[in-house]
Amino acid sequence: AKNEDDPSSCVQEERRLRLADSRLYPERCLAPSHIIAPHSLVVIFESFDSLSFAYATPGQVFSNRNGHFAHNDFIGKPYGCKIRSRSSGGLGYVYLLRPTPELWSRSLPHRTQIIHELDAAVIVCQLNLRPNCVVCESGTGSGSMSHSILRTIAPHGKLHTFEFNRGRVEAARKEFEKNGVSHLVDVHWRDVCGKKDGMFDDAGDAAAAAPAASTAGDDTSPDQTRIEKGGFGLGHAKAHAIFLDLPEPWLAVPHAAHTIVPGGRIGSYSPCIEQSQKLVAAIGKYGFHSARTVEVRLREHFVDEIEM
């Protein structure tokens, strides 16, 4: 506020107000938690293709083919250590690792087919996610993509994730709570495609009635239809990025166009080319531009020494 008529005393006052608290300033480094605390998530690494997880609860036992492991042994140890089993004379062992979204994806219980780490990495990068973004995701599924997004939008961002299966909604909510990320995410029980009338909605607000006037990038043909069912229920231009992992994503595109901030990015993940075709057509129609379809495939190399 550069007020030209300010006498010097007012300027002094303003200056004092504008000297912000240094605690607001960046360079806030989190020391990674080194020691396993009770009830914290631990990823248990048995072998390169076998990972699982546990919440270190005193008194519980984790069993796998290498033996039985008492959770009490986990608590107090540093992450990255090797734990020997209590049974079979301590011959079996596992490694305890600090959880990351990638390890979580490999160890979590699959409720639906998940997006693997390679695709998740490319999606998060292409959507230009950064801290304190607001993101919408539809098709929570098992929550594996959600965790990758949450890692990036911490600490003050928000992920609105939508799932139309009640059981999965509850499971996801519990999981986010247990993993300590529930302040970053809102799980909505809602069908963003709006395929069925009058179900749900514990969020309370009906779909927005205003026409989708603002779209990502260049707006060519504002959508004149009234959106009466489905939708994200967040209002107009609220999300910086939207991600769709649905069997029929083109049904959600008009709602996405309404909810996204102009200049925001939308992404969708489809296993079939027919879905991609329909989606690209819908996206062009609702005023998005610069659509690209890519496929990324992983090739893993094994390294071993042999004698010849």
């Binding site: 960046p26 806030r28 020391a31 990255g80 911490a154 990320v181 893993e300």
Partner: protein, 636 residues
């Protein structure tokens, strides 16, 4: 007038200082705060990373702290702001052309110096008129400047149906306005660019029926170069006269003898080619980690060591970087990884980027990312010698007395100098005179802005000794390591690993696989890491259109290789038990296995003397064993 001048200057100065004092004062406090470990402890709950164990109490306390301070302050947290949707003065912007070319443009209101802010097809353009436009605007290349077009225009201009229907017999449906993405011509059909003359794939254009179309084909096409009525010189004349691109294209179409005989797809391709030549357009795209990487990968992949944008995305994801963490990066990729990291971490946390030579060489590249002050500040440049040299400091346990002696002995002069700086800093007399003598207020504003920026940098720059202390400190271990250099990855990684906290991921990138397979084996041999994976990816882009969906003709296979892993705790992550202890354990095992082992151990004990044993004794022993074994097998 002379009496007024001093007050004018001081007013401007105070206004300036007042508006920027926030950033600078915060910076000053932050340098002090960062040295104070207590501060970081209280904040630890507030910056949570995704799978943290959720320190409830600390979080609530920090939330109160944060909430309380927010009430007193009118100033918003600068890190909550998202990147703006409009171009600002001094921003870099990427221009995407329809033919796939990507060019950087520096949007400055006034341009000084030799290199123009934008150079396209051998012409330089001023960029002042781009400031204030929203990202995503389509620009047309005029003769002397870039002309922003209205919303709704696409990079491929919408050729009106009048041109087509005039010259073609077959009716083509009216393309819906604004349909088609990026580089697609409206519905009438477009596949990839192929020429009308000398078209090796012209046959491929034949009947590919798109639902109810009367498709012509090119069976009667005679491939001579005489189809176009307007000569090359005439076209140049039209251009000189300032005829608009669309008119030129329309004229070319009208005067083409073979246009009518083309298939729909071929017509579209022809139009598209002419448009790209005479009516070039581009779209303004924001510079982010992936767009900058893509631009460089297309233009000069050798300079960035062949890091493709999906490889960069993987590096960012697998290294588990997030707000508030500390990353150590060593790269020789022109700064794309550091820049992408700075954007991805949003000003939180620390990026310790190692550089060789006198000073960091990527600063020009980093500028392309349009980083905010906070993001730029989160990059800490550190000389490689501090970490990689022979006598580099290695994090030692705090109990070691030698480290404390060292830190007391050396005084940090640079730090003392920095502590003496005060902001707002009153103008010195010669500066004041200089300001007074300036011609315009605009120049004054510019000068003061530069001065503020200089002070801000001085106040926030870390000293060499402070940096060394970081490397010493075992409490400040990094939470991930990213390596992407042209130097031997094994040696570098082994030197950098002590600086990584246990159970934290590291990512090593290399253009070639051989150094990484060596690294893999070395890590396995020394038992330093777990979950080692050596991967590469291939990346394929598709053209998705009704009836014409296919992968693009060229697919990238050479995006480099990645080795990722998780570091094991050096103390408890390896075999904490000796091999002999394991043997005793195994022997003491209850049950059949234990007994068998004990037996075989005793049997082995007897063997050493077997040379002295007589043959008969040997035979006797063998007989006894045989009987025991028989008994066992019978009892089974």
């Amino acid at each position: 007038m002379d009496e007024d001048m001093p007050t004018d200057v001081s007013e401007t100065t105070t206004k300036f200082e007042e508006s920027t004092s926030s950033a600078v004062a915060m910076a000053a406090d932050a340098s002090a705060a960062s040295d104070n470990p207590d501060n970081s402890a209280t904040l630890s709950g507030e910056v949570t990373d995704a799978d943290d164990n959720g320190d409830e109490a600390a979080r609530r306390e920090a939330a109160e702290l944060f909430g309380a301070s927010n009430d007193n302050n009118e100033l918003d947290d600068p890190l909550l702001a998202q990147p703006q949707s409009k171009v600002r003065d001094g921003d870099y912007v990427l221009l995407h052309f329809a033919d796939g070319k990507q060019v950087f443009a520096h949007c400055v209101s006034s341009w000084r110096g030799k290199s123009p802010p934008l150079k396209v097809s051998k012409r330089s353009y001023p960029t002042a008129n781009l400031i204030g436009l929203p990202y995503g605007t389509v620009l047309e290349l005029g003769r002397s400047r870039l002309i922003p077009l209205a919303e709704g225009e696409d990079v491929m201009p919408d050729i009106t149906t009048s041109a087509q229907s005039r010259s073609s017999g077959a009716s083509s449906p009216v393309p819906p306005p604004g349909a088609g993405s990026g580089s697609n011509v409206p519905y009438a059909g477009s596949t990839d660019e192929l020429s009308e003359e000398n078209d090796p794939e012209a046959e491929g254009d034949a009947v590919t029926g798109t639902g109810g179309y009367v498709s012509t084909d090119n069976r009667d096409l005679v491939d001579t170069n005489t189809a176009q009525g307007i000569s090359y010189d005439r076209v140049e004349e039209m251009r000189e006269q300032g005829m608009h691109g669309s008119e030129i294209v329309a004229a070319l179409i009208e005067n083409s003898a073979t246009f009518d005989g083309k298939t729909e797809f071929s017509k579209a391709k022809y139009i598209k080619r002419k448009q790209m030549k005479y009516q070039p357009r581009c779209r303004m795209v924001r510079c982010t980690g992936s767009t900058v990487c893509e631009a460089w990968f297309a233009k000069e992949p050798r300079k960035i060591m062949n890091v493709r944008e999906d490889t960069l995305a993987q590096i960012l994801a697998y290294s588990n970087v997030c707000a508030g963490c500390q990353v150590m990066v060593y790269e020789t990729c022109m700064g794309i990884i550091t820049g992408a990291l700075a954007q991805r971490m949003g000003g939180y946390g620390k990026i310790i980027s190692l550089y060789m030579g006198q000073q960091p060489s990527f600063t020009e590249m980093i500028a392309r990312y349009n980083l905010t002050f906070a993001e730029n500040h989160s990059i800490k440049w550190l000389h490689t010698g501090e970490v990689l040299s022979e006598d580099a400091a290695v994090p030692v346990a705090p109990s070691s007395s030698s480290s404390t002696e060292i830190s007391e002995a050396v005084t940090d002069y640079e730090k003392a100098e920095r502590d003496q700086l005060v902001w707002p800093c009153p103008l010195q007399s010669h500066t004041r005179t200089y300001l007074e003598n300036m011609s315009s207020d605009k120049d004054r504003a510019e000068f003061l802005a530069k001065r503020c920026a200089r002070f801000a940098r001085k106040l926030t720059r870390h000293t060499v000794l402070e940096a060394r202390e970081w490397v010493h400190d075992p409490n400040r271990l990094s939470s991930s390591i990213i390596l992407a250099t042209k130097y031997d990855p094994t040696a570098c990684l082994l030197k950098m690993l002590p600086n990584l906290a246990p159970s934290c991921p590291f990512v090593v990138y290399c253009e070639y696989i051989e150094p990484l397979s060596e690294c893999f084996r070395e890590l396995q041999r020394q038992n330093l890491a777990i979950n080692l994976r050596l991967t590469d990816t291939w990346y394929r882009e598709y053209q998705v259109l009704p009836g014409r969906t296919h992968p693009n003709m060229s697919m990238s296979q050479s995006g480099g290789f990645l080795l990722t892993g998780v570091k094991l705790c050096p103390v408890t992550g390896t075999n904490e038990l000796d091999e002999s202890v394991i043997k005793t354990l195994k022997a003491q095992e209850k049950g059949r296995r234990g007994r068998q082992r004990q037996k075989s151990k005793q049997a082995k004990k007897r063997r050493p003397g077997s040379k002295e044993e007589s043959m008969s004794a040997k035979r006797a022993r063998k007989e006894v064993n045989r009987r025991i074994n028989n008994k066992k097998s019978r009892s089974k």
